[in-house]
């Protein structure tokens, strides 16, 4: 049995951000993730928006941690070498009543500390957001909104945490927690882990994990969101992230884009029972198109090249981040739906504070590797730079994915940094995420994965056991 100071359950953006923050201290940390790779739960379906902090009531954790998180994300993006794009957000009003609500939102935003908020006029919108519907009357402009790749963010946190001593175990599901007082023992199919503190960052299953130690005062109600990606050719559809006025349950149908340049429309917001229901629907498509076209009338159904659904781990109105006094040493970080991605670094700081308060002696390490080793992606650099790279390492010139221009070298590096599955390679490199959806590159990617992970072709999976790509090897089978 392995002994740790802290066990983090859940390898999404919250769990890995906490792991990275804790890796500054002389504490022994292990993160347990039940899927084949990190970010395969809630985080992979995230839209990647770094929110400015508008649309939250002052005095809520969501409001406070979002504003803090926004500033922290910019700082950390530089340390962890991730592309953070400052895009700015517009909450658009179409009626007089909506314009009035905007004023309230601005007040709330100012109270939360959201920087540089300003109301903009129809004329401003016409000039600065030309494809926005002419029916728009006014908007609230929040310049600190940005976009980031949500899963790469998870991998970057994890990589840096590992380089600073955190252990990460995938395919390791927490099945039972025994309160050993002091401390806990977490039972998994891969062995038992004992720790003084447990941080429950288990996303959709946070309530189940909490119940394992007798806490059942909250329930995770999965809320599905369907998102639709448009062809990169329409990259310049919008300049800012476009939001309608929020409703009670969601921020509405947005017109945004991913940090890789694809315009994105959605998400829907539909309560579902099944925590694994990631299916997209015709009804969802209709709803999203309707909402998106209202915002940007030139959006065309034929531009849609991909769609996916995610589940928000919704629980009540605010984040549940607390040390459980009834179960000393157990910290719940649950109900982290939007703006969870933005808030993650701030949540990590808050959890560190909770640990200190709960009695954990946290001394800072003498040597903390703040920076992550840079990685290169051909699709995000000018050609002249690519040329230098290829001269340095020939396999940067060996193109595997034609739609996103991904080289064999990048694929191998992704695997070296932890990718084990086709989705893992996709999330890290974008190979298979382009318009042909892997029709061209799947064959080669499988070969490279097989070579690097020493698995047979029949062992290569989409996202872990049960999702093998092919059924038989007819030559070597």
């Amino acid at each position: 049995m392995s002994k740790y100071d802290i066990v983090i359950i859940g390898g999404g953006v919250v769990g890995t951000a906490i792991a990275r923050e804790l890796s500054r201290y002389k504490v022994k940390v292990v993160l347990l993730e039940k899927e084949a790779e990190l970010a395969f739960g809630v985080s992979k379906s995230n839209s990647g928006i770094i929110h400015p902090g508008t649309q939250h009531s002052p005095g809520t954790l969501k409001g406070k941690l979002c504003v803090q998180g926004n500033a922290l994300t910019r700082k950390l993006a530089k340390e962890l070498f991730i592309d953070f794009k400052k895009v700015g957000e517009l909450i658009v009003a179409f009626t007089g009543e909506e314009r009035t609500r905007l004023e309230q939102l601005k007040k709330d935003g100012d109270a939360c500390g959201v920087p540089s908020l300003k109301m903009v006029t129809k004329a401003w919108l016409k000039k600065n957001e030309p494809n926005l519907s002419g029916e728009a009357l006014a908007a609230l402009y929040a310049p600190t909104a940005g976009i980031i790749s949500p899963y790469r963010w998870v991998y970057d946190f994890a990589e840096n945490a590992i380089s600073n001593g955190v252990e990460i175990r995938t395919e390791t599901k927490a099945e039972k927690i025994v309160i050993t007082n002091p401390g806990f023992e977490i039972i998994t199919p891969k062995g038992n882990f004992s720790a003084k503190y447990v941080i429950n960052a288990a996303g959709l299953y946070a309530d189940e994990i909490a119940r394992m130690v007798g806490i059942n005062d909250f329930k995770i109600c999965p809320r599905k969101g369907e998102e639709f990606l448009l062809d990169k050719k329409r990259e310049n559809l919008t300049r800012h992230l476009l939001f309608p006025l929020p409703s009670k349950t969601s921020k509405g149908i947005l017109v945004t884009r991913t940090s890789d340049g694809n315009p994105m429309i959605g998400p829907t917001a539909e309560d579902v029972q099944d925590r694994e229901d990631l299916s997209t629907t015709e009804a969802g498509l209709k709803k999203v198109l309707e909402g998106a076209k209202k915002m940007v009338p030139s959006i065309n159904e034929n531009d849609i090249i991909a769609y996916f659904a995610g589940l928000r781990p919704a629980s009540g109105d605010d984040f549940i981040i607390r040390h459980e006094d009834k179960v000393p040493g157990f910290i719940n970080v649950a109900g982290i739906q939007s703006p969870g991605l933005t808030a993650a670094p701030a949540i990590a700081l808050m959890v560190t504070g909770l640990l200190k308060q709960a009695g954990l002696n946290m001394k800072k390490k003498l040597f903390f590797h703040k920076y992550r080793k840079k990685e290169y992606h051909l699709f995000s650099m000018p050609l002249a730079k690519s040329k230098k790279l290829i001269k340095k390492d020939a396999s940067y010139g060996d193109i595997v994915c034609r739609c996103e221009m991904v080289s064999a070298k990048e694929v191998r590096e992704a695997i070296a940094r932890g990718a084990r599955t086709m989705d893992g390679v996709k999330f890290r490199t974008r190979a298979q995420a382009g318009r042909c959806h892997g029709s061209f590159c799947t064959s080669r990617l499988m070969k490279i994965l097989a070579e690097e992970t020493k698995l047979p072709s029949t062992g290569i999976t989409k996202r872990g056991h049960g999702s093998e790509i092919v059924k038989e090897d007819r030559i070597n089978g």
């Binding site: 050719k233 694994e276 990631l278 299916s279 997209t280 629907t281 015709e282 969802g284 498509l285 159904e301 034929n302 849609i304 090249i305 991909a306 769609y307 996916f308 050609l383 690519s386 040329k387 290829i390 001269k391 020939a394 396999s395 940067y396 010139g397 060996d398 193109i399 034609r402 221009m405 080289s407 318009r435 042909c436 959806h437 892997g438 029709s439 061209f440 799947t442 064959s443 499988m446 070969k447 072709s457 029949t458 999976t461 989409k462 996202r463 872990g464 056991h465 049960g466 999702s467 093998e468 790509i469 092919v470 059924k471 038989e472 090897d473 007819r474 030559i475 070597n476």
Partner: protein, 325 residues
């Protein structure tokens, strides 16, 4: 930067025919750029017969058809061939930038022939709702996995689309020991050749569902089943006709899209609907000296037509070079 008289992008049947034709019409400085290790393009994985009936008056397999052109090109030393070479940028002045292991090369030809073929329409583009499990393949990818890599994608297959590629794969899967449970076609009749319906579907007793669409793909980690529903003349679901078919593999064979992102990058006038260049004359584009041939110009049913079209493009390129000397 290197200067050339003619660059041909694509070493499949279109590119090879265009290069050979240009040579035979007087062009002696030609560079053919191919991204794969071998010439032949998609024909390398089309191991079935059905090629060359018109052009060679023989019934050949895809590789045999390609082989004729590969042999011819090899016999012409004035045609330089660069394999494993991937074009990443195309400018209005026809400057081509390509990557290959160890190098980035830039070449500016006086005339350029694009022969980049097609990609397949994907499940996402035809909006099939449901989950995204493993086991969904475009027909071409499945063909490649079986015929080039020796891997069997699945054991119980449903094919969406009755075009030739789908029909051909129905036979291939069946002969590989898999069970093809259905071919689902949205229109009232097949889009494929009668020959393929006989030899790929009827020969094996595979059920074909016309006027049906796939309404949902089920399965968490791997495909488990699909739902199909009958549709009426207005493409609306006929209620009460929904049927589920258990399967572990879905093949999507719903059409080809010309791969023209490079010429779009260069600013060629495009027909957005077909993703092809707007041409007043066959093979020509809005940029003088920039020609498109083969499936990237127009999606042809027979490779023989691709060859004819590409030979014309080669001729036109030669004419252009003579004129602009």
């Amino acid at each position: 930067m290197v200067k050339r008289d003619l660059v041909v992008v694509g070493g499949g049947p279109a590119g090879m025919a265009a290069a050979i034709s240009a040579y035979e019409n007087g062009v002696k400085d030609i560079l053919l750029i191919e991204r794969d290790l071998y010439l032949g393009g998609i024909l390398n994985q089309c191991i079935h017969t059905g090629f060359g009936l018109d052009y060679f008056k023989e019934l050949l397999t895809g590789p045999e058809y390609a082989d004729r052109f590969i042999k011819k090109i090899r016999s012409l030393p004035d045609i330089d061939i660069s394999t494993r070479s991937f074009v990443v940028n195309l400018k209005k002045d026809k400057t081509v930038t390509y990557l290959k292991p160890g190098a980035m090369c830039v070449v500016r030809p006086k005339a350029l022939i694009m022969a980049t073929g097609c990609r397949e329409r994907t499940r996402e583009m035809v909006h099939i709702p449901g989950t995204r499990p493993a086991g969904i393949f475009s027909a071409g990818l499945a063909q490649r996995l079986i015929n080039i890599d020796g891997l069997l994608p699945g054991k119980e297959v449903v094919i969406i689309g009755s075009g030739d590629i789908g029909l051909i794969m129905a036979r291939r899967f069946t002969l590989q020991g898999a069970k093809v449970k259905a071919i689902v076609e949205i229109q009232k009749q097949t889009r494929g050749l009668v020959r393929n319906v006989v030899q790929c579907v009827e020969d094996f007793g595979i059920p074909m569902y016309f006027n049906h669409k796939v309404s949902k793909i089920h399965g968490k980690d791997r495909v488990e089943k699909i739902s199909i529903v009958q549709i009426d003349d207005n493409m609306k679901d006929v209620s009460g006709t929904e049927v589920e078919i258990g399967c572990d593999t879905v093949l999507v064979s719903v059409g080809l899209i010309p791969e023209n992102e490079l010429i779009e990058m260069a600013g060629v006038d495009m027909d957005k609907r077909t993703n092809s260049p707007i041409s007043k004359e066959v093979n020509k584009t809005s940029i003088p000296g920039l020609f498109v041939c083969g499936n990237s110009f127009k999606v042809y049913d027979y490779v023989d037509s691709v060859t004819a079209d590409s030979e014309l493009a080669g001729k036109l390129a030669a004419q252009y070079l003579r004129k602009t000397k």
